[in-house]
């Protein structure tokens, strides 16, 4: 993956595949500790301890189309490469929380990339799933809650309407 926003797009697809209805994505930096932390928390079906133990193994996957699953493995590699780690908590029936930390100033730390494009792709592909995204990077806070947008659209438009998606993209362009 070229940047962190692509990693996020990739592992959030795990959450949607686990039938989550609400997915929280948080990106924060701690300048004092020189850390960048990405959290993805879902209310999907979760994993049992057995699966949790094996899930970082590239040769473990729930998919049926091929025998390798690289999403979490690649994210863990990216975190380890810059002095960070990948922590996964999960409970069957309750959901999964994946946290990747990175040493923010590490020379190998990938750039954030285009989070707007990631959210647009996620919402377009999963219009019935709700996403709550918050970030606090370089003093700029961004919040996007599809539950709020959904109420406001009032059933007149669906979340994946190109006009809505375009607006979400614009929100992030303003930030950059």
């Amino acid at each position: 993956m070229e940047d962190l926003s692509l990693h996020i797009l990739d592992i959030v697809e795990n959450a949607t595949a686990a039938d989550a209805s609400l997915i929280f994505i948080g990106v924060v930096e701690d300048l004092g500790k020189d850390l960048l932390r990405i959290t993805v928390k879902d209310n999907g079906r979760g994993m049992d301890p057995d699966m949790l133990e094996k899930v970082r193994d590239p040769f473990i996957t729930t998919r049926t189309t091929r025998k390798v699953g690289l999403g979490l493995s690649l994210l863990e590699q990216s975190a380890l490469e810059c002095g960070g780690e990948l922590v996964i908590h999960s409970k069957p029936g309750e959901g999964t929380e994946v946290t990747a930390t990175f040493q923010r100033s590490h020379i190998d730390r990938k750039p954030m990339g285009d989070m707007g494009a990631t959210l647009v792709a996620l919402i377009a592909g999963n219009p019935h799933v709700d996403f709550l995204y918050t970030s606090d990077l370089e003093g700029e806070e961004v919040e996007l809650d599809t539950r709020v947008i959904r109420v406001e659209l009032d059933g007149l438009m669906s979340m994946n309407d190109p006009a809505v998606l375009k607006m979400i993209q614009e929100l992030f362009k303003k930030e950059q």
Binding site: L9, T65, A124, G125, N126
Partner: protein, 127 residues
């Protein structure tokens, strides 16, 4: 803090009145961008962006853009599947934004699949 405001949302709701009902249930064409790890690493998000631009530009209300997972042909990513109602679905492989634009113009809007970018057309020949 950057947030979508209620005013922003009202504006698009107004501007899109009357054109949106189609997209909710009934559609003519569905474009599925394959977004497994392989697809994402190969550039699927850019392809999604290109189609989003084209759908908006064309003003069409009967085209759905969505994503799907890995189809098991990771070496051919980025891939999409275009389903025109009433016709066989077509899988396109090794895409870039230019190919995506052409597929939109010719297949999605013009109903004529772009054979040269497709995974396969038919499966056997007798010659």
């Amino acid at each position: 803090m950057a947030k979508l405001t209620v005013e922003d949302l009202k504006k698009i709701k107004e501007s899109a009145k009357g054109t949106v009902s189609l997209r909710q249930g009934d559609y003519r064409v569905k474009i599925m961008v394959h977004m497994g790890t392989c697809g994402i690493a190969a550039g699927a998000r850019k392809i999604m962006g290109a189609f989003l631009d084209k759908v908006q530009e064309s003003g069409s209300t009967d085209v759905i853009l969505t994503s799907s997972g890995c189809a098991g042909l990771c070496n051919h990513e980025p891939m999409i599947t275009v389903e025109v109602k009433g016709s066989a679905p077509v899988k396109y492989i090794r895409l870039d934004t230019e190919k995506a634009q052409r597929i939109f113009d010719e297949h999605v809007m013009g109903d004529s699949p772009v054979a040269e970018y497709a995974l396969a057309v038919g499966s056997e020949t007798t010659y």
